[in-house]
Symmetry: C2
Subunit: 269 residues, 2 copies
Amino acid sequence: MLKVFWAEQTPVAASDRGLAYGDGLFETIRVHRGRPVLLGRHLRRMRDGARRLGIPLSAVELEHWLNRALARYDQDGDWVLKLILTRGSGGRGYVPPDPATPHLIISRHGMPALPDPGGVVAHVARHTLEANPALAGLKSLNRLDQVLASRELPAGAYEVLMTDSAGNLLEGGRTNVLLHLRSGWFVPPANSVAVWGVMQEYVAERLDAQGTPVRERRLPLSLLGQPDFQGLFLLNSVVGVVPVRRIGCQHLPIDNSLATICDPLTSLK
Amino acid sequence: MLKVFWAEQTPVAASDRGLAYGDGLFETIRVHRGRPVLLGRHLRRMRDGARRLGIPLSAVELEHWLNRALARYDQDGDWVLKLILTRGSGGRGYVPPDPATPHLIISRHGMPALPDPGGVVAHVARHTLEANPALAGLKSLNRLDQVLASRELPAGAYEVLMTDSAGNLLEGGRTNVLLHLRSGWFVPPANSVAVWGVMQEYVAERLDAQGTPVRERRLPLSLLGQPDFQGLFLLNSVVGVVPVRRIGCQHLPIDNSLATICDPLTSLK
């Protein structure tokens, strides 16, 4: 049974394990004219993450509160619904309470600034990422890597890009990356990325469906300068899909081949 | 300027970056007969951590609130003072606000159960640790590794031990490890451990001072079975220093050579 907090109304106890240890997960869901975009994928990721962390979560209950939130925050246009799921309070230090009473903290936010669809500027962060495969892909509340990388975002740049210590591109601060080479579409190995994005999943399925599958491989930054490089995309479920036109001083070719297939607003589900 | 929350009185907004991203630090300080144990080291670690995360923190202000907390929670015997420092609220997603108004969340807790000074049972967790050197040593609010490892703690065991994926011993869930071989005292490399413990620092200085320096090296678990193995200790600033007498089915020799030098209660500072 979830204990629910409407963020604008009820604050959270300092003993919440989400605050104490980042012991939880979150989702930020774009709502477009009353309909949540990529909803099934968001809810599935939260349920999968809860299973990996051992936080009890009923799919029926989660959907119940999602619907209550949509009714409560009912609003025209586009906005963002944020769900934070924590393991609740209690336990002996790090050892979780058993059974736990998870907390669901619900809030509404305005849309962030949308990127220029013609392409954005990115910056490679010095802060590198070393994803622990045991935590890889989880949209958990442990996001210090993203915070520290984002501190390096220069004025005028839209996104920081994080690599591992060997210089392989892994992801943006708040986006996943998708690389287009003449030989196909590529993402970094799933066990190396911090957050497995629902927009990335959606776009990969669309590309698969049109016979151009997305494959996993290491993505050294040097690929971006090679003759068979076609384009680099950033993917995020709230702001969409956008090509990178420049990284630092390096101008990248702009690839428009995703423009027609990757707008989930046209196929809300 | 800090914004201060007394945990028993004022809850925390859901927008606090400590909850949203684990964007902060904490200290748990044992207070013994009104005097905080290893206080200078705790405060120094929090200041150093704040500097690494770029959270503005004045040493004078931190000490002011520490003293206010000691007066407020004034209590005989032993108890635990917890300080959580977060970057506060706001910012654009992961990008921190500039300037930030950090939050200091202060709470009082009872002492945890003390370990049997004759030795405890430990358990090696399947959950491995891959510390990012950029975050190594920080007592940050990103503690999912410790939570997940602690879920494996079997009944009757006192502590889980975490290794890297190659099987090198790194630390306990809430303790640091110190290994005694015939050739000397050893801890894992500083850039491989998640939390750099103040008790570990204290004990290392005491051992150094008596001419038996503590050195860093990789600590494969196989060392525990070798003839020159003398003992394994767990160190924590609240519960102290305790030998491990058994890991799973493996009985370890008990080493009493730390008993006389490592009680910071006798040299409060």
